[in-house]
Structure formats: structure tokens, C-alpha cells
Amino acid sequence: MEILIASAIGTLTTCGIYLMLRARTFPVILGLSLLSYAVNLFLFISGRIKLNAPPIIGSGAYTDPLPQALVLTAIVISFGMTAVLVIMALGAYLTAGHDRIDLYADKEKAIKASARIRGHESDSRAEDQP
């Protein structure tokens, strides 16, 4: 059983990270979901595996309740995080007209943009001179 779960965690992590390394928003969000699954599962098994022992007092044998409590809130929070990401991705797509996650697709543009930022900075500094 441990081997199965470990391989599930490994697969989820691999798939999650591969998707998160894509250059478009939607695969990145999917990747993040998969990675969240992996992380939650990992957190959960830190309480070790114990079958038929839910932490409901009265049944006799109990598994560790603390990782469960932590993962429970983590699941809900990851929904919030995903939702924020989704809306940000949507906003970026609607306003920029593309859904690439990288700021600059090509090097030239990047250099131009940074030169623009620099130029702006030196402008404001010149303004500062009495």
C-alpha cells in the first residue's frame, strides 16, 4: 500500500510540475491543482497509514487526526488560491489578448521594456535635482 501511495504522490508531482512549466495559463492552473493534490496527500500520509481507524472517538483504534485537520483546511484554501489564479489568468487574457505566462516572449522586447523602465527612473531622478 505504501508503495502505491508513494507512486501516486510521485506521479502527481511529476505531472503537476511538468504542467506548471508550460507557457500558458490554463495548463499552469491544472498543474497547480495536481501539485496541490500531491502536497495534500503527502501532508496526510505524514500521519502514516492506518486502515479502518477513523479518528472518531469510540471506535477503539485511531489514526493521527492532526494531519487530517491540516489537510482539510489546506483543501479549502487551495480552492481559494485556484480561484484567485483563475481570475488573474482570465484578466490577463482578456486585457492582454494572449494567455502566455511569461512577461516577454522574446528577448528584444524584454530589453526594450527594461530600457524603458530604466529611462523612466533616470527621468524621475533628473526631476529630483534642485
Binding site: 502505491l4 501511495i5 477513523p54 479518528p55 472518531i56 472517538i57 480561484a83 481570475i87 484578466g91 505566462i101
Partner: protein, 923 residues
């Protein structure tokens, strides 16, 4: 408690101007003056004890485990500084009331001023060096605000930035120095540190600590070579210059040196560093002051010079020198604050600050002239004023110090200071009257009374130093040196002391210097001088550009690249940790594998891999991810986590609904553009991380915990302590309720963020037209779906209520209940659209989030009423005849807050997206 209250009073006063400004500036000023005056009165109330040689202390354990205590201490030295801060503070408040223009944000000015006053008072009253550091940094910050008060002036902004950078950097060094000091002694309490002279001076860390602390003191007190910020800080309004840059803040460094004098002084290192810096500063700044033409610049360099004088005296390390230093602190504060205020008056009256363009003001402004004459002569050290007394004490000390260069430099510095003082006075008030644009005249008493009070003090303490100041000098010096002392300050010491002859030489030399001034001025103007501001700006620009280059290398705008780099770092660190540490052997037995879970895991792996390989077809990939989530929730159920299973499945539903909504806008496919090499690289990175994670998870599962987990306590206390049988729920709402409290707030904030982003989006022009797919689905709101969802809603709510109520004892609880409710509502959105649903919604979702957080907070605060800490829960058993015996726990109320917050957050997020999805008119 009283000392802590005194230190808090100015901060409380800082809050009032916002409220009192509507009643006019007099009321606002009087209100803050009441706070200052009360603090002063409370300080004076301790006077008898201090005169008897005791120290008043207040101790509040704040973070005792870190050695951080809010300990306050009032002894002779802090008394002296408190009197300066609060006494001169009162005069400055009165002066500022008349000085600032009606159009300026006066309330803000007062608030900054009071913040500064509180910070400064905190420094001198602190008995714990960590506390002192906090106040120290606060003075830097508040002085930044005050120097930059006229933020429309570039000089003000630059001066404020320079002051903050310089004193802030010095403050950082000082933090390190004081930490070392605390480390040597083993305590951060000043009283403990001050008793450990031998241990500190024997420590090999003494010299680094000394240098670091002195860096803090020298930057704050503008000692050479860190003096350059003070003249630039003169861009501040004059009341600020008079208060911070003559009487109080720049003396914080001196205060620190005096405070630590018993443990740091007396060594050759101390002597050479402190005396050297003081002497150079005193002579150098006096020379610069002679060649400045701006009223405030002259006073600024003069202040630097006088601060150097006091530093020099503290560096000598003898008790008489310390006495002279303390006495000069008093004298300098009185005459220099008065002079700054008078310079402000001249500036106000003539709008000219260049003394070459001034002159002849003795006729137009007789009162100011009289006051300025006395204060300037005191600055020059002319008898019988107090400046003379302290200067003579200084010369006396210098005369007895070898080598010869010390008395020689001290004499030259004194000579120069007489020269610049006389030049300041004659150029401004004497000589012919130039044609002024507006006829200058003396100001209202509100402006000249505060300096006049100080000038009276200058004369009185000069004529009768023993009855007026000796007591204060005695207690302050005794507190500085740690030994009782009786100062003997007198105008006339007879013909023997060398100081007398040096004074005569000084006055003679000054007259000669002024006679030769035109020639000297030509030499000065011809010599190139390093421009501190240019050097400072250049180094700042250099630093900024280095940082920019570095950031550009690390963050070139590609998120994938940054993520890969982060992953690589984590992997490297992980492998390093694995190889460099020992690991325990796995002792746990493997759990046998049943068929169903094996199939489940196989499905999960297949779905995950399929989602990855088919990710270009986005809808399909999303459904596959949903399958992973569903299998995961079944897995949780199998692995003894029913609560997790419930939550996971409910979250899965709302997440998929949300992503589907988003996909409505986004392109349905991802274009193939990625190079094969990059794919291979990403895959290699992903597989390596995945394998490492799997190995780590396996290794973890095969080993027992090294320390017994805390959950034994949770399981044992779940029923007797929290009154619930579901240990997971009791942890969430009770044992770790504070965590949950934070989490629901985070969730609420996330939902509000989504709402705000949507509002923003709705207000902007879209570059891309959303993909409208409504036509593809035929009827967007099929009647069958509508009818079914109407039936489902009450059932979902019933299930939600059931899950909520049983949550404390059985799987369920606020989180799941909120999600189940949300699913019921989401179905209405899907079936009937946003318009229909929104029209039937009575409670706004924001209100639900807010109510949730409020209910949770109220439950938490409620335990205060029972005298327990925040969020302590309580429960009782209730018997209602037809029902079973059930418990009523306050934790259930907290869970209600969780429920409301989760429901509100989920619905607000989905509703925001749904509003985007609605066809927009006129877009």
C-alpha cells in the same frame, strides 16, 4: 506602570491632531501640549527620588524568552534628556503653531512631531537595549517624515532620504553592536549590562561591538565622516531643525555614548576613536561653518561642531570631562534651539536666508536682534553666558590631555566658532540695511516668546550656574559615570587655569580671522571640496543599478524560468541534505495491498498522466484532473479520513465548476509551439522531482515518528476537553481554532480579491473578445435541468445542515456544510443563469463572509468574558425531552462562522466569474 505611561503619552498625543484639527490649530496645539506637559509633570514627580540618587524603574515582561522586556528606567541621565525633549518640545509646539503657513497640513505635522517625541523619549527611558533599538529606529523614521514634510521640495525629499539612509545604516550597525554586547553579558537589560564592565572590556568581541555601536552613535549625532546628512536635513521646516537637529535627535548618539560610558569608556580604543572623531568633527565643521552663507547651514555646521565637542569630551573618559559634556549638552540645547527659532523668524520676516543679502535688521527687528545677540554670544562662548562656561571646561580638559595636538585643535575649533558666530550676527543684524522687498518687522510674541524663554535660561545659567544647573549636571553625570559627583561650575577660576589663556587666545584669534576673512574666503572658494551629496548620490545610484542588474539576471520576466531555478535549488538542497545527514532504517511493516485501492491508484496515475499528455485539449484535461480529485477523495475515505473525503469531493465540484466557467473565456486548446528540447528539459526536471518526492514519501511512511506526535493529546482530550467525538473537527474548531480563524479570513480575503479583480475587469476594455459558446449548447437554461435543481436545493441544504450539526461528533462540520450549500446554489446558477439567481439572492455574499468572520471573532472574544484566553471553547449537555441528550459547545458557534465564511467565499468567487460570463452590453 508610570514610566511606560510616560513613554506612551506622546504616542497617544500623536493620535489627537486628526480629531482636533477641525477646531483650529490652537486647539490642536494645546491638546498635544497637554500630553507633553503631562509627561513632563510625571517625570518631575520622580524628581525627589532621582535627587536622592535612586533610579525609578518599570518592568514589563514582553517576550522574556527572547530577552525582550519593556523595561523602563529613569535616572539622572534620562531625566536630563527627558527634560530637554519635553521642555523644548513644548516651546517648539508653541513656535510651530505660529510658524507654519495656514495652507499647510498642520495636523499631520503635529502627529509626526509627537511620534518623534515619543520615540525620543522612549530611547532615553529604555532599560532594555532591544527596546531602545525599536525607539531608535522610530526616531529615524519619524525624522524622515519631518525632514520630508515639505515633500513638494526636491531638497526636502533628498535630505529626508539621505538622513534616513545614513542614520538607518548606522542603526543597523548598532543593532549588531548591541546584540554582541547583550551576548557578552547574557542579558539585554541595560542595568545588567552596565554592571559588567570587566567582562565586556575583556571580551575579544569588545572592539567589534564598540565600533558597531559607535557607527550608530556617530551617524545619528552627525560625527565626521557621517556629518554630511545634517546640513541637508535643514530642508525641514525650522521648528523641526530647532527640535530634532539641534536639541534632541542628534543628541541621541551622545546619549547612547553617555549611557554606555561606564562599560565602554576608559580603553585606548574608546579614547582614540571617540576623541579623534569628536575633535576632527569639532574643528572641521567649525571651519565649514565659517564659509557658509545660508543662515540654517551655518547653524547646522555649528551644531555638528558642537556635537563633536561633546563627543570629544565623552571620549576623554575622565569624570570631569563627562561633567563638562553633560553641562554642554544643556547649554547647547538652550542656545542652539533659540538660534534656530530666531533664524526661522528672520527667514519668515525677510524670505532671505543668505546672510550676504541680509543686514541692518537690528533696527527693524529689535527684539529678535536682542535675543539673537545673546544666543550667538553664548554659542561663541563669551562670558557671562552659559556657552562660555562649558567651553572653558572643555578647554580646561583639552589642556590637560596629551599629545599637544589635542589642545591645539580644540583651541582652533573654539577660535573658529567665535569667528563664525560673530560673522553670523554681524552680517544679519548689523551693517547697512539693504532694500528688502517687504519691510521686515518683529513677529508676533507667539514666535519670539519660545526663543526668549530659552535665552533667559542661557543668561540665567550663565550667571548662576551652581544653583540652577549643578543639581541636574550632578545627577546626570553620576548616572553617566556610575559614581557620585559634585560639579564645580564657575565663571571665574582665577588667573592660573590654562583655559583662561586659551580663551583669550581664542577671542584674539577670532578677531584676526574675521579681519582676514576676505582673503581666507578667496582661498576657500578656490580649493576643490569633496561634495558629500554627489558622493552619496553616486553610491546610491551604483547600488540601485547593481541591484537592478542582479534582478534582471534572476528575473527576466519568464515565470517558467524562475520556477525551474527554484525547483533546481530545492532539489539540490534536498540531495545535499540527504547525503550529508544520517537516516534511520525503515521499521514499519508494509500495509497489505487490497484489489480496490490498487485499481484506484492505477486509475489515478493513468488519469494524471493522460491529463498531462493531453493537456492541449483543455476541456478533456480538466475532466481528467477532476477524475484525479474524485479518486483522491475515495482514497481519503479508504485511508481512515472520512472528513477529508467529504471535503475533497465537495471542493472538487466547485473547483471544476469554476474552471469550466473560466474555460468559457480562455482558448479551448493550447497551441503547439514548444521546442522539443525545452519539453525534454522540463520533463527531466519534473520526473526528477517526482521520483524524489515519491522516495521521500515512501521513506517517511516506512519510519516511525522520532518524537511522539501531539495527536495523542488531541485524541485523549477530544471528548473531555472539547466535548466532541470527531477529533479532526475538535482540532479545527477548538485545539487549533486560531489557525482556522486565520484560514477563514484568508479565504474571505481571497474571495474579496476575486470580486475586486472582476469589478476591475468589468470596467476595462477587453483586448480579446470572450469566446461566446452559448450558441453551441442549444437552450442555455433547459427546463428539465431547472426543475431538477430546484428540487435539489432544499435537499442540499438539508444535507448541509445535517453535516454541520453532526460535525462535532461525526464526519462533517462547517467547512463541508458550507461547500454542500454552495453546491446547491451553484446548481441554480448553472440551470438558470446569473441574472435569475442574483435577483433571488437576499443576502450579499460579502456580508456572509463578514458575518462569518464576526461570528468566529465574537466566539473567540466571548471566552474573554469567562476570563479565558481567546477562542477557549466551552460546552454543556442539554436535554430537550423529545430529543436525545446533546452537547452544546461554543465551538459549534465558531463552526457556524466557518460555515458562513466558506459559503460566502465560494459563492462570491463563482458569482464574480459568472458575472463576467454574462453577455456584456455595449462592449
Amino acid at each position: 506602570m508610570s514610566l511606560a505611561l510616560i513613554a506612551a503619552l506622546p504616542f497617544l498625543g500623536a493620535l489627537t491632531p486628526a480629531l482636533t484639527q477641525r477646531f483650529g490649530r490652537s486647539i490642536a496645539t494645546v491638546t498635544i501640549a497637554v500630553f507633553t506637559a503631562t509627561a513632563l509633570a510625571l517625570i518631575l514627580q520622580h524628581l525627589p527620588a532621582i535627587m536622592a540618587g535612586q533610579a525609578v524603574t518599570t518592568q514589563i515582561a514582553w517576550l522574556p524568552s527572547l530577552g525582550l522586556n519593556a523595561n523602563f528606567r529613569l535616572d539622572g541621565l534620562s531625566l536630563l534628556f527627558s527634560l530637554l525633549i519635553l521642555g523644548i518640545g513644548l516651546l517648539i509646539q508653541a513656535y510651530a503653531c505660529f510658524y507654519l503657513d495656514a495652507s499647510e497640513p498642520y495636523a499631520r505635522f503635529l502627529t509626526y512631531l509627537m511620534l518623534f517625541q515619543g520615540a525620543m523619549l522612549g530611547i532615553v527611558l529604555s532599560d532594555n537595549i532591544l527596546l531602545l533599538l525599536v525607539f531608535w529606529e522610530l526616531t529615524s523614521l519619524s525624522s524622515f517624515l519631518l525632514i520630508g514634510f515639505w515633500s513638494h521640495l526636491p531638497q526636502a525629499r533628498q535630505g529626508a532620504r539621505m538622513a534616513l539612509a545614513t542614520t538607518g545604516a548606522g542603526g543597523l550597525a548598532m543593532i549588531a553592536g548591541l546584540m554582541i554586547l547583550g551576548h557578552i553579558v547574557g542579558s539585554y537589560d541595560l542595568s545588567a549590562i552596565l554592571s559588567q564592565k570587566a567582562a565586556i572590556q575583556a571580551s575579544p568581541l569588545y572592539l567589534p561591538a564598540l565600533i558597531l555601536i559607535l557607527l550608530g552613535a556617530f551617524t545619528k549625532s552627525a560625527q565626521f565622516p557621517f556629518h554630511f546628512w545634517l546640513p541637508h536635513a535643514m530642508a525641514a521646516p525650522t521648528p523641526v531643525s530647532a527640535y530634532l537637529h539641534s536639541a534632541t535627535m542628534v543628541k541621541a548618539g551622545l546619549f547612547l555614548m553617555a549611557r554606555l560610558w561606564p562599560v565602554l569608556s576608559g580603553t585606548p580604543e574608546w579614547f582614540w576613536i571617540v576623541t579623534g572623531a569628536g575633535l576632527i568633527t569639532m574643528a572641521f565643521a567649525a571651519k565649514v561653518a565659517l564659509f557658509k552663507d545660508d543662515l540654517k547651514a551655518i547653524l547646522a555646521y555649528s551644531t555638528v561642531s558642537h556635537l563633536g565637542l561633546i563627543t570629544f569630551l565623552l571620549g576623554l573618559g575622565t569624570k570631569t570631562a563627562a561633567t563638562a559634556a553633560i553641562f554642554h549638552i544643556i547649554c547647547h540645547a538652550t542656545f542652539k534651539a533659540a538660534l534656530f527659532m530666531l533664524a526661522g523668524i528672520v527667514d519668515h520676516a525677510t524670505h532671505i536666508r543668505d546672510i550676504r543679502a541680509l543686514g541692518g535688521l537690528r533696527r527693524a527687528m529689535p527684539i529678535s536682534f536682542g535675543l539673537a545677540t545673546i544666543a550667538t554670544l553664548a554659542m561663541a562662548g563669551i562670558p557671562p553666558l552659559n556657552g562660555f562656561l562649558s567651553k572653558e571646561m572643555m578647554l580646561e580638559e583639552a589642556a590637560h590631555t596629551a599629545p599637544w595636538i589635542i589642545p591645539a585643535l580644540a583651541t582652533i575649533a573654539a577660535l573658529l566658532s567665535v569667528a563664525y558666530a560673530l560673522r553670523f550676527l554681524t552680517y544679519t543684524f548689523l551693517g547697512p540695511t539693504p532694500a528688502y522687498a517687504h519691510a521686515p518687522h518683529d513677529p508676533t510674541p507667539g514666535l519670539w516668546l519660545p526663543p526668549a524663554i530659552l535665552v533667559v535660561l542661557v543668561v540665567a545659567t550663565g550667571l548662576a550656574p551652581m544653583p540652577l544647573t549643578a543639581w541636574l549636571v550632578d545627577v546626570a553625570t553620576a548616572a553617566t559615570t556610575g559614581a557620585p559627583i559634585h560639579a564645580n561650575i564657575a565663571l571665574w577660576h582665577g588667573l592660573d587655569p590654562p583655559a583662561l589663556w586659551m580663551s583669550l587666545a581664542v577671542i584674539g584669534g577670532a578677531i584676526v580671522t574675521l579681519g582676514l576673512y576676505p582673503a581666507l574666503r578667496r582661498i576657500w572658494d578656490a580649493t576643490p571640496k569633496p561634495q558629500a551629496k554627489a558622493i552619496f548620490d553616486a553610491s546610491l545610484t551604483g547600488l540601485t543599478q547593481t541591484a537592478a542588474t542582479l534582478i534582471e539576471k534572476l528575473h527576466n520576466g519568464s515565470l517558467s524560468r524562475a520556477f525551474s531555478l527554484a525547483l533546481l535549488t530545492i532539489l539540490t538542497l534536498g540531495f545535499y541534505a540527504y547525503h550529508s545527514a544520517e537516516s534511520l532504517p525503515g521499521t514499519r511493516a508494509l500495509t497489505p495491498i487490497a484489489l480496490a485501492p490498487a485499481v484506484g491508484v492505477a486509475l489515478l496515475i493513468t488519469a494524471a498522466i493522460a491529463a498531462t499528455t493531453l493537456h492541449r485539449k483543455r476541456l478533456l484535461a480538466l475532466l481528467l484532473v477532476g477524475i484525479v480529485g474524485l479518486i483522491l477523495s475515495a482514497g481519503f475515505a479508504y485511508l481512515s479520513a472520512p472528513d477529508l473525503a467529504l471535503t475533497q469531493i465537495a471542493v472538487e465540484v466547485v473547483t471544476i465548476a469554476l474552471m469550466l466557467l473560466a474555460l468559457n473565456f480562455l482558448p479551448k486548446t493550447t497551441p503547439r509551439k514548444t521546442a522539443a528540447l525545452r519539453k525534454a528539459r522540463d520533463a527531466a526536471l519534473a520526473v526528477t522531482t517526482g521520483v524524489a518526492t515519491a522516495a521521500l514519501a515512501y521513506a517517511l511512511m516506512m519510519r516511525e515518528a522520532i518524537f511522539p506526535p501531539i495527536s495523542a493529546f488531541h485524541l485523549a482530550q477530544s471528548v473531555p476537553g472539547a466535548g466532541g467525538h470527531n477529533a479532526v473537527n475538535t482540532i479545527i474548531v477548538d485545539f487549533r481554532g486560531y489557525d482556522t480563524y486565520g484560514e477563514i479570513i484568508v479565504l474571505g480575503i481571497a474571495a474579496l480579491l476575486i470580486f475586486a479583480l472582476t469589478e476591475n475587469l468589468l470596467g476595462t476594455k477587453w483586448a480579446t473578445r470572450p469566446h461566446q459558446t452559448a450558441g453551441d449548447a442549444g437552450d442555455p437554461h433547459p427546463i428539465l435541468l431547472q426543475t431538477a435543481t430546484r428540487l435539489i436545493l432544499p435537499m442540499a441544504m438539508l444535507v448541509g445542515c445535517y453535516l454541520f450539526l453532526r460535525g462535532h461528533n461525526q464526519p462533517g462540520g462547517g467547512f463541508v456544510a458550507g461547500l454542500v450549500f454552495a453546491i446547491g446554489f451553484v446548481l441554480q446558477y448553472i440551470a438558470s443563469g446569473q441574472d435569475w439567481t442574483a435577483a433571488r439572492r437576499r443576502i450579499p455574499y460579502h456580508a456572509m463572509i463578514g458575518a462569518g468572520v464576526l461570528v468566529a471573532s465574537a466566539t473567540g472574544v466571548g471566552s474573554f468574558l469567562a476570563g479565558r484566553p481567546f477562542l477557549t471553547s466551552n460546552y454543556t449537555h442539554i436535554q430537550l425531552p423529545p430529543l436525545q441528550d446533546f452537547e452544546l459547545a461554543t465551538a459549534a458557534l465558531f463552526d457556524l462562522g466557518v460555515f458562513l465564511c466558506v459559503l460566502g467565499a465560494v459563492m462570491l468567487a463563482l458569482d464574480a466569474l459568472a458575472r463576467l460570463a454574462k453577455p456584456q452590453e455595449g462592449r
